[in-house]
Symmetry: C2
Subunit: 318 residues, 2 copies
């Protein structure tokens, strides 16, 4: 899984400290879900579909296109069926976030390629977000996982507040490992650790991911960071150093933090892409096209882009 | 020099991948110089002095308080003498940036504790910034270094555009090493590598700093990052991983990039402090006091704070 890369930055004769990073990474674009679920201005359905098609044209291979949560909770994504039906035939993997069985059935009906089954690692956040404790969530997640396996729908299990929780505070590695163990024993092969409130630090990421990947070498682990405290890219780098090569990111940094309304949201796809290309790590996504998509999208949303790379490039007219 | 730290994040029995970082780091606050030299609103002299005194009260041990550049080039810092005279007796090390011998003499007269001798690693940036080529700058830097040694004034030599240049583009490690070699041979014991335009990436930082520190184990190396492309803290972490434990930072992220006027400036002191404390790395600086200083300062300047930590904490009333 962890291919090692060539070395574009160190000079030949002085190359005594090669940092081994994955050769290729996969960026899962979650802007259409994690981003658009929170915006004040609800993007029209046809614009969401155009956005997703543009992302595919730019080279994105996996997209979290929407969420099949009850519209009462997330009115912005009430058009989940319509969006999914319009994009599920595109030649990439279209994921949708699924909170429960009703959502699963809706997603399957709409032709989803993969489901993101979400639960929190703490009871506090789980109760608030999904109205059940962690134990019940594990049971439900395993149930849906088995359904999806039968239905030949891909599954990634996403663990919210994996690095820190707004209610519990610190999260301990053994709490996370216990949940991962149970899910893996029951068939999970792809799991994401999500720093939902942006409190992770790169030391923690590197120490934890090495432990976790060593315990479960056959599981595909992915990371989802928010830039709340400015550490988004530092955490991505720490993940890379641990051999992780799947990362969620959101176009233009779309998507906030419900516990700090004006804070930064998801780590911006443009910023991740630029850091990767500067480090010689291949993403196979066209950076210039992504910046153009951002420009169009944020003009519709009438909000400021939260990507550092976008801010710089825009001044040089992209 | 590189003490290794305890491990606050990995849990006891799972501690199989300890990331060794320095136990303590020194943050050199460069806001009063690198930040205030660029602001549209020129802070009044007495407010600059109050700012510097507050930074000392918060625990900052080294401050770049001003620059003895000709006021024609940086009118904001025309009060360099007045500022330095008012703060040089404080019980911390007050540095000033020095571009040439005239500046050196002014700084010495004003009672400076230490001088930051600055030159660029590329001819292009050197010619633009200091109106001479790299070769001439090395000669001048060595000349001033020797003067300062005789005058018992501390010296840090700062290499601008060390990781990338707006004129030349890529900078090669051997170009940087050649300059470091010459300066060290001539007495430099403390040297900073400055990512003036924010283009460094963490892989490059880690690979380069390991090479450089291995070649010159007795030199104190420090790093100066800008957050232009969002990689400021990622680069700080990469530096830490290489054993570097001196970092420049600027309060509130003050200080821009002359080549991208709306881009982010220096890595924000608050963001560096918060990442350090989350990782168990001691700075001995009071984070809460720093946030209060930021709030007061930016109210005077009437600009937005460019620190992620500040934005989050402000919503919870600091």
């Amino acid at each position: 899984m962890n291919q090692l890369t060539h070395d574009p930055v160190a000079d030949g004769k002085m190359r005594r400290n090669k940092v081994d990073l994955p050769l290729n990474v996969n960026i899962v674009e979650v802007g259409p879900r994690d981003g658009l679920q929170n915006t004040a201005e609800n993007l029209e359905t046809d614009k969401k579909i155009t956005l997703i098609k543009s992302l595919v044209a730019a080279g994105v291979k996996e997209i979290e296109a929407t969420s099949f949560v009850h519209p009462k909770w997330i009115p912005n994504l009430a058009d989940a069926e319509e969006v999914m039906r319009a994009v599920s035939d595109l030649p990439v993997t279209m994921f949708a976030l699924i909170p429960n069985e009703v959502g699963y059935n809706r997603a399957k009906e709409a032709g989803v390629d993969g489901v993101t089954l979400v639960m929190s690692v703490t009871d506090g956040h789980n109760l608030k977000n999904l109205n059940r404790d962690t134990r019940a969530s594990i049971k439900e997640t395993i149930h849906l996982l088995h359904k999806a396996l039968r239905d030949q729908i891909q599954v990634r299990v996403s663990l919210s507040v994996a690095f820190g929780c707004p209610f519990q505070g610190n999260v301990h590695l053994d709490e996370v490992v216990q949940i991962i163990d149970q899910l893996v024993e029951n068939g999970a092969t792809r799991m994401g650790l999500c720093d939902t409130i942006g409190v992770a630090n790169p030391r923690q990421v590197k120490e934890w991911m090495k432990v976790i990947t060593t315990m479960h070498p056959d599981v595909l682990f992915e990371l989802h960071f928010h830039n709340t405290y400015g550490r988004g890219l530092a955490n991505v780098f720490a993940g890379l150093e641990s051999g992780i090569h799947y990362f969620d990111a959101s176009i233009g940094g779309l998507g906030g933090c419900p516990y700090a309304p004006n804070a930064s949201g998801n780590v911006a796809t443009e910023d991740v892409l630029n850091m990767m290309s500067e480090m010689g790590v291949e993403t196979n996504i066209d950076e210039t096209k992504m910046l153009e998509i951002t420009q169009t999208l944020f003009q519709h949303l009438e909000i400021d882009v939260d990507s550092q790379v976008y801010k710089v490039k825009k001044e040089s007219n992209l």
